[in-house]
């Protein structure tokens, strides 16, 4: 449902955005938080224009849409005042409510929904622990991977307790989509740091990962592990190379 893709980088003049009332999704190709929104847009089959934003040399005009210059942001030019929403979880929850078809991704039961939100929140320490290794930071703390695995274990245990193929239940849901982007990136650590998840310790999670990788929305938004690895490495050479995203894998 991507109508068009417009790459805009530093110092550029404000782009001529299409005036067709279709949603505008501001993103950076490799941003995992941004991918959360991409997954929702794909799962709900919401037509949108994709506009790439350089996060290091942020274009000045972008602040009109996202006051703090962050991605993701989604603007709805078809609505009154053409509002823009920011914050990946807030956008995701809004899209789930506003676009109930083909189906709701959050549970309708308030308690289950709260417990899923808590689980998503508990993924934050996983992300912060693994970040220096994922981004090939030469000064990564010695215990980064240890902390990462300890935080990730919560999810292995939780999946076992829930006893369903997805965290959301028998079918994929918002909680699965919200944590997915990092699982897509973990395999890049094998290429860059020779690290991969222990198949015994994370047996259930790896099974879940293989299942989710087959999801239609996940496949629509996926970037090849090689591209992820290359992008992360490019950060160590100075400026991140955003256009790695547009490479085709032979």
């Amino acid at each position: 449902q991507i109508i068009s893709q417009l790459p805009y980088f530093a110092g550029s003049t404000k782009p001529e955005l299409p005036g067709d009332g279709v949603a505008r999704y501001f993103t950076m190709a490799f941003c995992p938080f941004s991918q959360r929104v991409h997954l929702l847009l794909a799962a709900k089959e919401i037509p949108h224009h994709k506009i790439y934003v350089d996060l290091i040399d942020k274009p000045e005009w972008y602040k009109e849409y996202s006051p703090l210059g962050k991605v993701p942001a989604v603007q709805f030019p078809g609505l009154k005042d053409q509002p823009t929403l920011v914050e990946s979880l807030i956008i995701a929850e809004y899209l789930d409510e506003q676009y109930p078809e083909p189906r709701r991704l959050f549970p309708t039961d308030p308690l289950q929904k709260a417990q899923d939100k808590i689980l998503i929140e508990r993924f934050a320490p996983v992300v912060s622990a693994v970040y220096p290794v994922l981004t090939c930071n030469p000064n990564a703390p010695a215990d980064a991977l240890e902390k990462f695995e300890a935080a990730l274990e919560v999810f292995e245990v939780e999946l076992g307790q829930r006893g369903t193929p997805y965290f959301a239940g028998q079918t994929i849901g918002l909680v699965d989509y919200m944590i997915w982007p990092w699982f897509e990136r973990f395999p890049s650590m094998k290429l860059n740091s020779q690290y991969e998840l222990d198949p015994k310790r994370f047996e259930k999670l790896l099974k879940w990962r293989d299942l989710v990788a087959q999801d239609a929305a996940v496949q629509k938004t996926a970037l090849d592990v090689q591209l992820h690895a290359e992008f992360q490495k490019s950060k160590t050479l100075g400026k991140p190379q955003y256009d790695v995203a547009f490479k085709t894998i032979a």
Binding site: L85, V86, I90, E93, Q98, P110, L111, Q115, R122
Partner: protein, 265 residues
């Protein structure tokens, strides 16, 4: 045992009758826990308050709250008595479970926009903590500590209503209130100059208009057009948990000294 006795190391876990009433694990001066108190009281949802000494937590608290943080809400009418954590998640749950006094707008877009403003306030909180916990305010120099509050002043002005929530306080009002209440304590520590400037924040705290009227042969001054902060202070849910500036300042002083006096009240 005082009403706000904080349970600490070595204390027994309090036992409550099997009355189907939820338990809120809290700390009397915690602004995040304060948010949950406000929503529970606004929706008039019965709850037991269990106060926790956060510096020396009782051993049994680890099993209650996986994050060992407050607030934590233990539900009493669900199988297994599940515990919810994270102030915003708890408040969202209460909003959905107890819709009788709705705090969010019905419109999903307006609700999302209010949530963004709540989230953004979180960034302002970190800046304010520097002020609230700083030993030597002179060191803070000319940092504009209230820069993050400008958008709220603008937003309330734009909405043109008494509260962000409209004619009565909504979720956004309650989610930011705990810190706005604590600003009242700053001037006790740092002098009058620190209080919110009514010229800059005319809609939030500006001095209301005074009107002279004759009432029963007496000349009476009445304050009309109360500003947001004054209106909030009159709100029944706010009143339940309200502490004045002097009390907040007294507590913050003990906190800064590394010896938080939880049972101060």
């Amino acid at each position: 045992m005082s009403e706000t006795e904080h349970f600490t190391v070595g204390s027994a876990k309090p036992v409550f009758p099997d009355d189907g009433i939820m338990k809120l694990y809290s700390m009397r001066f915690c602004p995040y826990a304060h948010r949950v108190h406000l929503v529970l009281d606004a929706k008039k949802v019965p709850h037991h308050d269990v106060y926790i000494n956060l510096k020396e937590k009782p051993e049994w608290f680890r099993e209650v709250s996986s994050s060992t943080k407050v607030p934590a809400l233990e539900l009493a009418r669900e199988p297994g008595n599940p515990v919810l954590i994270e102030s915003l998640i708890i408040c969202d749950y209460l909003e959905e479970k107890y819709p009788q006094v709705p705090l969010y707008p019905k419109d999903p877009l307006k609700k999302a926009q209010d949530k963004i403003l709540v989230e953004r306030f979180g960034q302002f909180i970190s800046a304010i903590y520097k002020l609230l916990l700083h030993d030597n305010p002179a060191e803070l120099g000319n940092t504009d500590l209230y820069a993050g509050l400008d958008i709220y002043e603008e937003e309330l002005k734009l909405r043109g209503t008494d509260y962000f929530g409209g004619e009565s306080p909504g979720m956004l009002d309650y989610m930011i209130w705990p810190w706005c209440e604590r600003f009242g304590g700053l001037k006790y520590e740092l002098g009058d100059g620190v209080d919110l400037d009514p010229a800059r924040f005319g809609t939030l705290v500006g001095i209301g208009t005074v009107k002279k009227i004759i009432f029963g042969f007496k000349l009476v001054y009445i304050l009309i057009q109360l500003k947001w902060r004054d209106l909030m202070m009159q709100d029944p849910a706010v009143k339940v948990f309200y502490l004045d500036g002097e009390t907040h300042a007294k507590y913050m002083k003990t906190r800064r000294a590394g010896n938080a006096d939880y049972n101060m009240l």
